[in-house]
């Protein structure tokens, strides 16, 4: 799963490795074998960074596919999730299907569809759906035809007991997302029953993702991007259940903790999945592993330390009085899970790209996701804020407004001898008033190189925070790109949140060369994204202009300088407003860059947070 395609051999062997590990599971008390597996796991996970994502490459010879396929084979898991959803669509919230449109995605949907009962409702959410259509309301066409109000249930109520498919879920407006979340919570839409499973088709690239509040409510996150069509043929039998687990809930909580799944919906949904897997027998260890792989692994924000003492030390005390013990078999001292084998099995199911991110730098991923809702909110150009009398040829007809305007007069007009059911006159016509958002997103592009970096960075951080603190007056957002060493990094994605900015900015390192071209490129990329989202970007570049690292990451003043000017001209061509704050003492280079950008130029050899934010406000 995930963007960097997994070479088939490693996937296969990873598979075999964990299978080897788990084959021992049913034979309770085969401790020797288990600790052997631990030894395999230890070095693999504590070793060098990149290879860790393929744990156990070297572990053991391939064994014949006897009980086969209880594996992190992504298609098998995707298939399993589809069958679980099909068995009871509303039970698990649904799934996020991250995949480009194409045959693999179609096959998965087909799998789900065929597994469903044929009469199960299946609705596709049209983009830009309104409240009336989503939650129920007036059926306008029927109302006009009949001359009286005809209500119709919304799409969610129609899908009761079935599936709602949401295409382009990463661009779902926050309002729609929150209605879906509320319907998932309450099982109703406008007081009609609406229990459904949600399939979010996420076609996002990069850090575009489904709004987290909604994503958190869905059990499964399936990434089909790395699966080839050929791999989707195999249908793998379910692994044998094995022995009953004494404390499934405790195990799942411990696993969630180990993988840094903060939201409690993670373990709750995993417990639900485990229970469904087990149907009418007690939950087995195998069920726990499968549930954790399906639900918890894609939510992981960290990797468990390999030698971590198993969290079972915190054996659940009985503070929940009167709780029926799960399966009637709970022994509170169910001490030996999650052990390395289980951890390893789940770890192997973490999508490789996620794993790389985790290894590379901890939980930036969640941080990057957190702002989606706010960003999506800006992704509309012009939102209707009401309607006014007007000519529909010069605006968007507001049908409802028109009818409302005409409605009170119907009785009177009919008395005048009209025979039409609804008499709409020109005076009744209403058009929508749209308001363009005028929000500005200031993208700070900060030179974090060299000796003066620390000071400059501190001031830039201060300026960002000051600007954010007053952002409420103007509803503005701020982003920060830092460049140093060999490349540029988006330290703070566009945000309006001071809390988040503080966290993103703390511990920003400085020093190294000056890859000015890379910095400008990154700032332009962010700014263009902002503009696509419907907000107005502005770039503030803090640098002394003395580029000495080229885009390739190699040193060399001449080439770096030329590339920087080239990047600056690209910025100008993109029509982005910019301000260059020259932090150097001599100033020719930064001036040249500013000219190439067509930017305002400001010389502030010793910028100071207050001064800087004032200058930015004045200039942009």
């Amino acid at each position: 799963m995930g963007a960097p395609p997994l070479p088939p051999p490693s996937a296969g062997e990873g598979t075999l490795r964990s299978r080897g590990g788990r084959d021992e599971v049913p034979q309770e008390g085969s401790n020797g074998a288990e600790s052997g597996a631990c030894l395999h796991a230890g070095p693999a996970s504590s070793g060098s960074r990149a290879p860790v994502s393929r744990p156990g490459l070297t572990a053991g010879p391939p064994s014949p596919a006897a009980g086969g396929g209880r594996t992190p084979d992504p298609w098998a898991d995707a298939h399993r999730a589809a069958r679980l959803i099909a068995a009871d669509p509303p039970a698990f919230g649904g799934a996020i299907l991250r995949a480009a449109p194409g045959p693999v995605r179609e096959r998965w949907l087909e799998t789900l569809r065929t597994a469903l009962h044929p009469k199960t409702p299946w609705r596709r959410l049209p983009p830009g759906i309104g409240d009336d259509a989503l939650l129920g309301g007036l059926d306008l066409a029927a109302t006009l035809a009949a001359g009286r109000a005809i209500a119709r249930p919304g799409l969610l109520a129609q899908a009761d007991g079935g599936i709602v498919v949401v295409p382009m879920a990463e661009r779902l407006p926050p309002g729609t997302a929150s209605r879906l979340a509320a319907a998932l919570d309450t099982g109703t839409a406008s007081d009609r029953p609406a229990r459904f499973g949600l399939i979010l088709l996420d076609e996002g690239e990069g850090d575009e993702a489904v709004a987290e509040p909604l994503a958190d409510r869905l059990a499964f996150r399936i990434d089909l991007n790395a699966i080839g069509l050929a791999e989707t043929q195999a249908e793998l039998p379910d692994p044998e259940p094995g022995a009953a687990a004494p404390d499934p809930v405790g195990d799942l909580c411990a696993l969630a903790e180990a993988f840094g799944v903060a939201s409690l919906r993670g373990p709750i949904l995993a417990a639900r999945v485990a229970r469904r897997l087990a149907v009418d027998r007690p939950i087995s260890r195998q069920d726990i592993v499968t549930a954790a792989r399906l639900v918890l692994a894609p939510r992981a924000t960290r990797l468990p330390a390999p030698e971590e003492p198993a969290p079972e030390n915190a054996a659940p005390p009985e503070e929940t009085r009167a709780e029926p013990p799960p399966d009637g078999a709970s022994e509170p001292a169910a001490a030996d899970l999650p052990d390395e084998i289980v951890l390893e099995a789940v770890r192997a199911a973490i999508p490789p790209n996620l794993l790389d991110q985790l290894l590379a730098g901890g939980p930036r991923l969640t941080a990057a996701k957190a702002g989606r809702v706010g960003q999506a909110a800006a992704a509309r150009t012009g939102r209707p804020i009401g309607s006014r009398r007007g000519d529909p040829r010069r605006g968007r007809l507001d049908l409802l407004g028109t009818l409302r305007a005409a409605a009170p007069w119907q009785a009177v007009r009919r008395e005048e001898g009209e025979t039409r059911r609804i008499v709409v006159r020109r005076d009744d016509l209403r058009i929508r008033i749209l308001r363009q958002r005028t929000e500005t997103t200031t993208v700070f592009c900060v030179d974090a190189s060299g000796s003066a970096a620390l000071e400059r960075l501190a001031e830039a951080k201060g300026a960002v925070e000051l600007l954010l603190a007053e952002a409420y007056v103007r509803r503005d957002r701020v982003a920060l790109v830092a460049f140093r060493g060999t490349g540029a990094e988006l330290v703070l994605p566009p945000t309006r949140s001071l809390t988040r900015a503080k966290r993103g900015l703390s511990g920003l390192p400085g020093g190294g060369g000056t890859p000015l071209a890379a910095g400008i490129d990154a700032a332009v990329a962010v700014a263009l994204g902002v503009r696509r989202g419907g907000s107005r970007p502005a770039i503030v570049l803090l640098t002394d202009g003395r580029a000495n690292v080229a885009r390739s990451g190699e040193g060399g003043r001449a080439r770096a300088g030329a590339e920087a000017l080239q990047a600056a001209r690209a910025l100008r061509a993109a029509g982005l407003p910019a301000l260059v704050v020259d932090t150097g003492s001599r100033g020719e280079e930064a001036r040249a860059v500013a000219d190439a950008m067509g930017a305002r130029y400001l010389k502030l050899p010793r910028p100071e947070a207050g001064q800087l934010s004032a200058a930015v406000r004045a200039a942009l």
């Binding site: 409240d131 509320a182 958190d216 903790e257 709750i268 915190a314 305007a405 409605a407 009170p408 201060g462």
Partner: protein, 336 residues
């Protein structure tokens, strides 16, 4: 499926205390719950409403007027004379993000307009929430024009409708409950200030609590009816506590010493205006009533001060310490 019972919510003491206080005295001005996802914010609010005893309302009144004292501004009940009453559950109305103004404020009743040619008002969410709870998830992402509208209604308790040729006022007094994640955007200061209490919730970090939460949820999902039946006694206890506290509330006294403490606390924190003191006093009184106490003591003030004050501090963006820490510091000084 019955609602997850309030008494089965584990941890999140501050949030539960704040919600109980709002249930005792709706005039405290609403509860804001800020924190991580999946911490039971929505669960707690829905559970609280299910726990409250049904209220008596004028039959047929779209604004749930109290038969004993119908709101003066109620277009339905203002006529006077005896009214039939019936019992109905305390409403919890969700205000979704991106709701249209029509839906919130109310609008021309199309059905009657088209059918009978009558210009009638179709009440919106604000009308339905009267005497109940208005719940806004992700309140920090609410669009500005809705925030303006809410601010106006929250202050006056009356929704004034001037649109589509309609012109009327109706009562809209409700407990505003907002929740959200501060990482996704800040709340507008004016709206922040309207909330009486602000709690911070965090995902429990210790494994036993987490296990207990998941286990409770798991047990509930497997047998909702049985789970709720087992909790029925606890639910009744809480219900009784709220009802008793409501009765006792008018007679709880606030001694001058407590008022002075409250004033000194607010001075030390530099909160703007007098709303801090007023809320602190009101909420401390409700807390005392919940405790069955006759007078407000230092202990009550101390317990409620963080929630009543932390969102009223003047912000200094360059000050790293959180507002909770600042309140704690001031508490330590004043109660030294």
């Amino acid at each position: 499926m019955p609602t997850f019972p309030f008494s089965a919510i584990i941890g999140q003491d501050e949030m539960r205390q704040a919600l109980l206080i709002a249930a005792v005295d709706p005039a405290v001005g609403g509860v804001l719950v800020f924190g991580d996802r999946g911490t039971g914010k929505s669960t707690a609010i829905r559970a609280l409403a299910a726990l409250l005893p049904p209220m008596r309302a004028v039959a047929g009144c779209p604004y749930n007027c109290d038969p004993d004292s119908p709101a003066e501004s109620c277009p339905h009940c203002a006529g006077g004379g005896p009214r039939k009453s019936h019992k109905k559950p305390v409403p919890v109305v969700d205000l979704p993000l991106g709701a249209t103004e029509d839906r919130v404020v109310g609008t021309l009743d199309l059905e009657r307009a088209l059918g009978a040619g009558v210009k009638a008002f179709e009440p919106g969410l604000l009308a339905r929430a009267n005497r109940g709870f208005l719940y806004i998830d992700e309140v920090n992402l609410l669009e500005d024009h809705l925030v303006d509208l809410l601010l106006d209604v929250a202050v006056s308790g009356v929704n004034t409708v001037e649109r589509e040729g309609l012109s009327l006022r109706h009562p809209a007094r409700f407990v505003l409950v907002g929740s959200g994640n501060p990482e996704e955007g800040e709340l507008r200061p004016q709206l922040l200030d309207r909330f009486g209490l602000a709690c911070e919730v965090a995902t429990p970090k210790d494994i036993p609590t987490r296990i207990a939460v998941v286990r409770a949820r798991d047990a509930y999902e497997r047998d909702p009816e049985g789970f709720c039946a087992a909790r029925a006694g606890d639910e009744r206890t809480i219900q009784k506590r709220i009802l008793l506290a409501r009765e006792r509330l008018p007679s709880v006294t606030v001694p001058d010493a407590a008022l002075e403490r409250a004033a000194r606390l607010c001075l030390a924190l530099g909160t703007d205006g007098l709303r801090g003191e007023l809320t602190l006093m009101r909420t401390a009184r409700a807390l005392a009533a919940l405790d069955g106490a006759e007078t407000v003591t230092d202990d009550h003030l101390r317990r409620i001060a963080p929630a009543a004050l932390r969102h009223r501090l003047r912000r200094n963006p360059l000050d790293e310490s959180g507002s909770t820490a600042r309140v704690e510091r001031a508490l330590a000084e004043v109660f030294a």
